[in-house]
Structures are given as C-alpha cells and as structure tokens.
Amino acid sequence: MIDILSKRYLYFLISVLVILPGLVILGTRGLPLSIDFTGGSLLEVQFEEGKTPQPAQLVGLYETAGIDDAQVQTTDSGTLLIRSSFLENEKRDSVLSAMKAESGSDVAVIRFDSVGPSIGSQVASRAALAVAIAALGVVLFITYVFRNVPNAFRYGFCAIIAMAHDVAVVFSIVGIGSLILDWQIDALFLTALLTVIGFSVQDKVVVFDRIRENTHIFRRLNYENLVNHSIVQTLQRSINTQLMTVEFLLLAMALFGGVTLQEFAVILLVGLFSGTYSSIFIAAPILVLWENREWENWFGRKAAA
C-alpha cells in the first residue's frame, strides 16, 4: 500500500509555497476589488476601425465631464475599457456623445456597468457574511453527520482548516492573476469562491466517510494506518471525479468560454483542484497529527517527518 501520510510535513511546505507568493502580492498591492465592491463604473466601447482615439484623449473627455479618475485600457478584441468613479446615466450619455464628436466615428457600447458607492460597500460586507455563514453551516453539518465517531468535532475542524487552505489558494491565484492579467475580485469571483468551499467540503466528507466506515472494520489498526488506508481506498475516486470530470468541464470552459468566463473558470479549476488536494494532503494529515499530538515534539526534537 502506498504510504501517503508519512511525508505530511512536505505537503504542508508545498502548500505554503503555493499560497505565500499570491498573498504577498495581495498584501503589498492591496485587494484588487472591482466596482462590484467599491462602486464605480466600467464602460467598454468600440469605435469604427482606424478611428479609435488615443487613451489620453478619452481621459480628457472624462475630465471635461467632471470625472478626473478615468483609466483607459485596450482589450485584445480592439475595444476600449474605461474605468472611472460612478457615472450617472446622464453623464454617460454626454461622455458618449463627446466621444462621437471627437473621433468622428460611431461608438458602440459593448458593456456598461455602473455601481453606486453605497451599494458597493454593502455588497462587500454582505459577501463576507455569506462566506462566514456558509463555512459555519458546513462545519455544523459535518459535526452532526460524524456525531457517532470519537472526536467528531475534529473532523469538522480539520475540514475548516483545509477549507481555509483552499480559500487561501484561491486568493493567491487571484493575487498572481491581478499582477499578470489584471484580474479583479468581482461578484463572479465570489461565486467561484463559494463553489470552491462547497465542493472542498464535499470532498472532505467523502474521505472522512471512509475513515468513519473503516473505524468500525479495522478496530486493531492504529489511527495513522487507518487514515492512510482510507485515503488510498478513495484515491481512485478522488482523482477520477475531481481531476477528470470537474476539471475537464472547467478546462473546456477556460479554453473556449470567452473572456467573461475565463477568470471564473481558471479560479474554479485551481480552487477545485486544491479542494481535492487538501482532502488528502492537508485535512487527513492534520487528523493524524492531532491524534498523535505531534506538536509536543515540534520544539524538543526535529519534526518527526
């Protein structure tokens, strides 16, 4: 039988190496919150070919309209993306007609999002609340389901730690994405995050379920071997379900799904992978670590790797 658990400290190290860089980026640059959370507006426009004005010209037009924080970005598809503070509909109209006059070209609005500042901050606080309630609901559910197993609370707790790990991985990816691809944290990101949480726990439940079942079958086995045995038994399923089905579907979405879905799909892809990884390499090892009370050796001797 494959011995998975003995290298547990190595897995912890790998996770730290994956999580840290993104979090450092987020820490230094700040959370790349989108207008969904901060309020503001985003206008994507397309000009007739060859008539696209320079970004500086557009910033000038915004300034004339009394908005002095416009930022212009050119997209791959040749459209212009202009972010600014909250634009009322009347202001948007005047800016658009100014654009038409300035460029002498017809201006097509591809997309316009405008979120009032008060709405934005409310969405942010409600979103945090939604995540917290989801986490709590899930822990309560697990503790309830495992109520007949010794130390039922540990399972819920380990699921939460592993879940926090997955959330950290997701944020790390966003941090890296924000640096390289200008990703932002928007309402869709929140959807992805909550899905990762849901599926992460779903995966833990499957592994923990096997441990629970095996506790009754292999009464003589010590806990570490028992857990290892359970992981190996569910390994094929974990790989097939997560890495094949879910990831196939998401990969297709990331590759063919268009710009709108790409960020969403990549975050889900990484997050769900992390969900499977953390069931095997984080949640289960911590259960064992807890059972052995390994922290007592951490400082006295070298870690029992």
Binding site: E44, V115, I119, L190, Q202, V206, M244, L249
Partner: protein, 455 residues
C-alpha cells in the same frame, strides 16, 4: 435484481419523454379531446436567455429616501408594479422586475436596445399636478413649489431673483385621471387628451368656472409642462395637455400618467448594459465549451468504467435533458454562470456514479458475485453521496440568498442551477443509473468481469 424492473424502465421513459417534449418545443399545449379548440393545459416554455447571453439592460433602483425612513413592503410592491407597467408599455418584452431586499428593485430588460428610454421612464416619479398659479403664467420648464407633499422636491426656481419662492396650491393630481391618450392639439402637434374621474370632473368644473382668465399650470414632477389660461369652464371632465411634445415624449408622458405616480421616488444605483454582440459571442463560446467538455467526459467514463461507464453516460444525457426541461418549464433565465453551475452539477452527478462504480469494483475484487457487488456498491456509497451533496446544497442556498438581496442575478442564476442540478443528479445517479445497469446486466449477462467492468 429488481422485481419491478419493467415499471422502473417505464417511469424513466415517461420522465424522459416529458423532458424531451419540453426541451424541443417553445410551447407545450395539451388539447382537450372532448372539446375542440379548447386546451386542458398550455405553457410557454421558450428558453429564456440572460442579459449576458443576448445583451440588454439591468438596473438596480433604490428608494430615494433618507436611510432611517421606513419603506413599506406595500409601497415597494406598488412601485414595482408601476415600473413594470411603464416599461412594458414601451414595448420591451420579457422584462423582469423584482423587489430585492427591503428598499431595492431590480429590473432586467434582455435584448433592450434603447436603454436610455427605459432608464428615463422608470426614474421619473410621474407625479402630475394641476396647479393654480393665479395670474402668473410660468414658462415651460419652470420648477414650481406646490403644497402637495412628496418625498423629494427639487430646488424651486426663484420667481425673480431674491424673493422667497411662492408655494402654489395644487387643485388635484394625476390620481384623478381616468384615461389618457395621445392626441393632436389645435396647432397640429402631439398633445395628451385626458378624461377625469367623476370626482376629478367635479373639482375641475368648479375650479375652471370660478377662475376664468387665470392660469392653470400642468406640472409633472414639479416641472411645468404647460400653463394654459382657463378660457371657459370645463364641465365634462375632459381636457388636453399641450406643450412642446414630440410624438415620443407625448407617448412617454401618457404612459407615465396612465400608470400613476410612484409611491416612493427611486434612484438608479446600479446600471449594467451588455451590448448584443458581446452576448452572442459569449453564448456561442459557452455552448462550444459545454459541448467539448461533455464529449471528453463521456469518452472518459466509457473507456475507464466500461459497461457501467456507458450506463452512466446514458443517465448523464437523461439528466441533462431533465435539467434543461426543468429550467425551461420554470422559466429560469439561462446565464453564463448558470451554465457553469449546470456543468458543475453535472460533475457532481458523475461523482455520485464514480463513487458507486469504484465501490462495485472494490467489492468485485473482494470476491463478491456481481449482484452482491452492485447492491453493496449502492448501499455503501450512499452516505458519502448524500452527505457531500447536502453540503453543496447548503452553499447554494446561502449564495441564492446573497444574490436575491442585491439583485446580483448572476450569483442567483449560478446557485439555482447548481442546487437544482445537484438535486436532479441524485435522482439520476441513484435511480436511473441503477435501473439501466440492472437492465444491461440482465440482457447481456456478462461473465468476463475484467472486460465489462474494467477491474
């Protein structure tokens, strides 16, 4: 394996037939066989595409009152109804106007092209007043202060420089209008013909009789639309508003007057416009993505799990047919995140099957016979499937709540399709896969387990 295998298969075929019927038609009609021309049942099941897939406008309105003011549910519902009527009258179809949270209304206008007209018409309070201005004839566009109280009053235009603004008396409001139509005034330009209720007609008759030669200003949202002189008493409760109207603006005003004034002023706090090209592009790409993903998954399941894999593929296809039919029947709007949620729930459906098949293989390796192994596979995998799916549903419910409070329809669409998909997948994984597998095993009676089950 099952005594009632025939019944089970019959049920599955029935469900599948119903699902396909809904999937493939835009409207389902059940004619009454005893009464020609009558229908027992009709339902429109056209697929509804979200804004992100066909372009359109989404707008979030908030009661424009101080935060401490209590906004009643009734007032919000009335406001919602008025917004709906006004926008429907503009000829935009498939509008969806919903109250979101305590003081917000979210409006969605898929496929809307003239977004400005919609925004204009929903934002105006639409309070029409007939104001007695005496001998003073205000110009069109003047802002008047009247003694009829509302939530928000724009700053009045001082009549002449420093003087404190006069407060004029409102004789009656648009409430007294019984019908409103666009007509033509004496000069031949568009005007608005109105007929008053009997109560309104009495007030109007009395006032006009007593004030011949004076001005009666017609004021909309405190702005003077026209200020005609009263030439004669008007006893029959009919009249006309003339002003500087174009055909469109006369029509828009008529719409506002017809559906009454908003009980609370609304302001736009969020606008999202998606152009039709972006929507179409997204639809194409996500369809391709979904198709490619499904093909890979179906191939993988068939190759890796052999017979059970093929059975699972069949039940996944049935699952997709059922889920799509449910979405169409209950008029769920399909959005990009909705499609993502659907694909993920497909993953969850497959996971249930994979859990079971891995279990069957294990039992087979442990030397059990086929029927024992299949039975054990289901019994033993069930707790994991059940508990893991419940956690997904818990998260979906919380997401749905979050989405409805903020009118974040993308989040709502995702959580709804995910939760429903997971629910339907439990049925297909447990009931359909198992029945079909039993049917195949009975028909083929496989002996070479290695080849048929890939152990």
């Amino acid at each position: 394996m099952f005594r009632n295998l025939t019944n089970r298969i019959f049920l599955i075929l029935l469900v599948l037939a119903l699902a396909l019927w809904v999937d493939l038609s835009d409207e389902i009609i059940l004619p009454n066989p005893f009464d020609e021309g009558a229908f027992l049942f009709t339902r429109d099941v056209k697929a509804r595409l979200g804004l992100d897939l066909q372009g359109g406008l989404q707008v979030l309105l908030e009661a424009d009152l101080p935060a401490e003011t209590n906004v009643t549910r009734d007032a919000m519902d009335t406001a919602r109804g008025i917004v709906e009527n006004r926008t429907n009258a503009l000829g935009v179809s498939e509008n969806l106007i919903q109250v979101a949270g305590e003081r917000r209304i979210v409006g969605e206008f898929p496929g809307a092209e003239d977004t400005d007209a919609i925004l204009d018409i929903i934002q105006q309070t639409g309070l029409l007043e007939f104001v007695d201005t005496g001998d003073f004839t205000p110009e069109e566009g003047t802002i008047l202060q009247t003694d009829f109280a509302t939530g928000s009053t724009p700053e009045p235009t001082p009549a002449d420089g420093t003087q404190a603004p006069t407060i004029y008396h409102t004789i009656m409001t648009g409430k007294e209008l019984r019908s409103v139509n666009v007509g033509v005034d004496q000069r031949g330009s568009p005007g608005i013909d109105f007929v008053l209720t009997s109560e309104g007609a009495t007030i109007f008759a009395e006032h006009t009789a007593a004030n011949i030669g004076k001005t009666l200003a017609i004021v909309l949202d405190k702005v003077v639309v026209s200020a005609p002189n009263i030439n004669d008493a008007i006893p029959d409760g009919q009249g006309q508003i003339s002003g500087n109207f174009t055909a469109e603006s006369a029509n828009a005003l008529a719409v506002q007057l017809r559906y009454g004034s908003l009980p609370i002023p609304l302001k736009v706090v969020e606008t999202r416009i998606i152009g039709p090209t972006l929507g179409e592009d997204s639809l194409q790409k996500s369809l391709v993505a979904g198709f490619v993903g499904m093909i890979i998954v179906i191939l993988f399941m068939g190759i890796y799990y052999r017979l059970p894999g093929v059975v699972a593929d069949l039940s996944i296809l049935i699952y997709a047919a059922i889920a799509f039919a449910v979405f169409k029947y209950f008029h769920f709007t399909l959005t990009l995140p909705g499609i993502a949620g659907f694909l993920l729930s497909t993953g969850a459906a497959l996971d249930a099957n994979i859990l079971i098949f891995e279990r069957i293989k294990e039992e087979l390796r442990n030397g059990r016979n086929l029927s024992q192994a299949v039975g054990q596979g289901w019994t033993r995998a069930w707790p994991s499937i059940w508990e893991s799916n419940v956690t997904t549903i818990i998260t979906s419910v919380i997401l749905y709540w979050f989405g409805s409070t903020f009118g974040a329809t993308i989040v709502k669409g995702f959580s709804l399709t995910l939760a429903l998909g997971v629910g339907i997948s439990l049925f297909t994984a447990i009931y359909i896969t198992r029945t079909l597998l039993a049917l195949f095993l009975q028909t083929f009676k496989p002996t070479n387990l290695q080849r048929w089950f890939g152990i």
